[in-house]
Symmetry: D2
Subunit: 259 residues, 4 copies
Amino acid sequence: MTLIKEGDELLLYMDKRRTYKVRVEQDKQFHTHKGFIKLGDLIGKPYGITVTSSLGISFYALKPLIRDRVLKTDRRTQVLYPKDIGYILFQLGIASGSRVVEAGTGSAALTMALAEAVRPEGMIYTYEINEKHQKTARGNIEKSGLMPYVEMKLGDITQGIPEKDVDAVILDMATPWLVVPHAWDSLAGSGVFLSFSPTIEQVMKTVDVLNEHPFIEIETVELMLREITVAHNKTRPKTQMIGHSGYLTTARKVVELLE
Amino acid sequence: MTLIKEGDELLLYMDKRRTYKVRVEQDKQFHTHKGFIKLGDLIGKPYGITVTSSLGISFYALKPLIRDRVLKTDRRTQVLYPKDIGYILFQLGIASGSRVVEAGTGSAALTMALAEAVRPEGMIYTYEINEKHQKTARGNIEKSGLMPYVEMKLGDITQGIPEKDVDAVILDMATPWLVVPHAWDSLAGSGVFLSFSPTIEQVMKTVDVLNEHPFIEIETVELMLREITVAHNKTRPKTQMIGHSGYLTTARKVVELLE
Amino acid sequence: MTLIKEGDELLLYMDKRRTYKVRVEQDKQFHTHKGFIKLGDLIGKPYGITVTSSLGISFYALKPLIRDRVLKTDRRTQVLYPKDIGYILFQLGIASGSRVVEAGTGSAALTMALAEAVRPEGMIYTYEINEKHQKTARGNIEKSGLMPYVEMKLGDITQGIPEKDVDAVILDMATPWLVVPHAWDSLAGSGVFLSFSPTIEQVMKTVDVLNEHPFIEIETVELMLREITVAHNKTRPKTQMIGHSGYLTTARKVVELLE
Amino acid sequence: MTLIKEGDELLLYMDKRRTYKVRVEQDKQFHTHKGFIKLGDLIGKPYGITVTSSLGISFYALKPLIRDRVLKTDRRTQVLYPKDIGYILFQLGIASGSRVVEAGTGSAALTMALAEAVRPEGMIYTYEINEKHQKTARGNIEKSGLMPYVEMKLGDITQGIPEKDVDAVILDMATPWLVVPHAWDSLAGSGVFLSFSPTIEQVMKTVDVLNEHPFIEIETVELMLREITVAHNKTRPKTQMIGHSGYLTTARKVVELLE
């Protein structure tokens, strides 16, 4: 059984809306408006354990998953939802050992999900043009412990991609169509291109350029997620729903026969 | 650059509807109704390369991704779609090193996706009650090369789960509610339970039992995927759509305070 | 051309979020925080005309449609959306001359839509158990001028429906299944039953009772409406969406052969 | 109670997939592969009654609703679904007495729904450029008895609309943007424009032209309808669904201030 040890990051869960990411230290107290928690008391306990604050409120000590990190990530540049990230990871076909180019880094929510998917043997090359965003992203990745699997690059990916023979290129940026030719150069044969775009005009332009290059299986989809309330005599989809985050366009590089 | 070598499995892609999974052998010919292909000629070539059949038809030699395997899997027991599998992998929070219990194995489509996600250091324990299904599943997993990460179990998971301290339990079976108590026992603290069910009655029963055990973050969602046709003056969602595959119910194990 | 005349109700439209329903009187001023409007000046002008407030802000004088009234109706008891009302009217198959039973009246949003559909020769019999709701509803209907086509009934429709041979019965209430036997008695042969219910348990119970009576074409659907932003390089579905209002269950009365 | 009389059109319902529209005549037999029915026997019976064929199969004698006519209409040019028609009727705000311009007539499915909504005092002016379509449409409308409320026009609506001061203009045609200026001329102040278009490019062009004219409340939506199977332990949305029929763009004419 994995036990909580000093230095671990964990998620203190009070209720669905109130969760707190903390690092466990022997003599540290974590203060909430519901009393404080002696973090040292958690050392040696199993994950999932209940801990009571000085005011008698119960918290659960959860092991942070990547989806917790994504949701807790600085959201200023965040538009991707779990429904999209899950689909992206699966469509990219990446796993331990994969080498992936990403742009832009943003808050690194997707970067961390990609790094978790390719560790311990793969690498994410993530491009960001905005230095301030990159700094925020670096902090997020460092806290997650995933930095060994990430190479952060400050620069404009529309100018070219030096990495070659990569397994996948994933774009969440304003002008993905400008990257398509570089993505083809960078990808290994049979590698996967994926672009996430909120507007249909972005999709149209990207698909136009994809069609001009040796890509096959060019497809665009959108995902809708509906939450369901399940309770006796009250079972029903929730009234509010996210109607749109973005379109997901995928393609696969081929190499035309030259004889 | 990874080159095609003898013994590799690859996907011969003619068009979206006609793709063929083949194993490369020096002196083997692959016959289609569009002529035959000398597979030996592909050895030493890069993935993604075009190959021409004896009747002059072009095929692309793609590296099979897990999503290709899922789609190519024997579909007799298959109900999961890529939209669901991507979401499942992300919600489960699994990665290299994770230990996961699955039931039922079915055709092993999800088993392979899980194994790909946890390799090289994790393990999938997959339960199937139907011996014939298990045999089909074994064939699929063996071809994928993922068998080192899978332990196949023939038996009824509603009778108990001997594996303990696992990171996740994922159920795609008729009576998931009967497994909930065993899933709680089997999961490590903070571990994730996920059940995929086509009907709302299954969801209601499963959530009822989840509520009777120390689980938090009990949530049910459904995912809808719409394909978009992108073409000049013809851009629009496709007319036909899959309206429903199943509901996805997740929860997280906690350990109540005992003092 | 229909011109605005004294006594007309009209809709002063400033922008999408700010519209005001007013009655035109010769010497009345309508005050907004953007200045006042002399309503008498509108008499003899065509609908759709621009009118400028004392502070120089433009308003449009629109002719109120039923959908304006529905949206402007007191929303305390309102759960129906235009997407649902349009579908209800079409599925009920009602038109001028139809006789329709409705319960509950609520704020009369649907009542007014029904009355508008059956005028000048039909009649809506609308049941409400809550006297306060009925009073609010009466005010709404009177302002709309549709009272000649509505008979308001204070009482519990689960106790029976005295009207016979009606063309349609439409229910938006907590326990529609208790009304199904009375609806069958009340409907003309071939008449339409429709129930709007937020929860799936309500639907299950209602369909159970429908199945026990001579009804055919028993069907349940749900409608989702997505708004699309259309603007240069910004075309996309809106982020926020109503994910669920209610399920719509329809059926048609038949008379079993008795020989 | 309305009884079936000679000359009535009725719908013989065998099951969901097998319904037949017939005209009642004293000495006519209606032949199906399940035996024949003596239609004269139905005269004087109430609607909804069961009738048994010569082979002992039960049929129900239903009164045809507009939605039955829409579904039974020649579908060669049909793209509108009940979900869209209901929404269109409600958004147009039409009722008895309304005058409406429609193009194209197509098979007249929507024409009949419009006519039913505006009778007994309104009029539908429906434009069709294809003489063969118009002929089919005429047959459909005549059988429905709604011809008194329809004026059929053979011609190209992009060349202008002679009708003035109409309450609504509804377009289901390839190039709605070419009609927008004529629609503005034709509409009464405050009147409603609505266009149904399958592709987003049509929507973009139409909204562009709407924005150049005095229209307000320019809005585009799409409607998705999901059928739900309701049965003990099998309750769930159906697997197959119509993912897209078309976008619905509405606007309302205003008259800019001229002082």
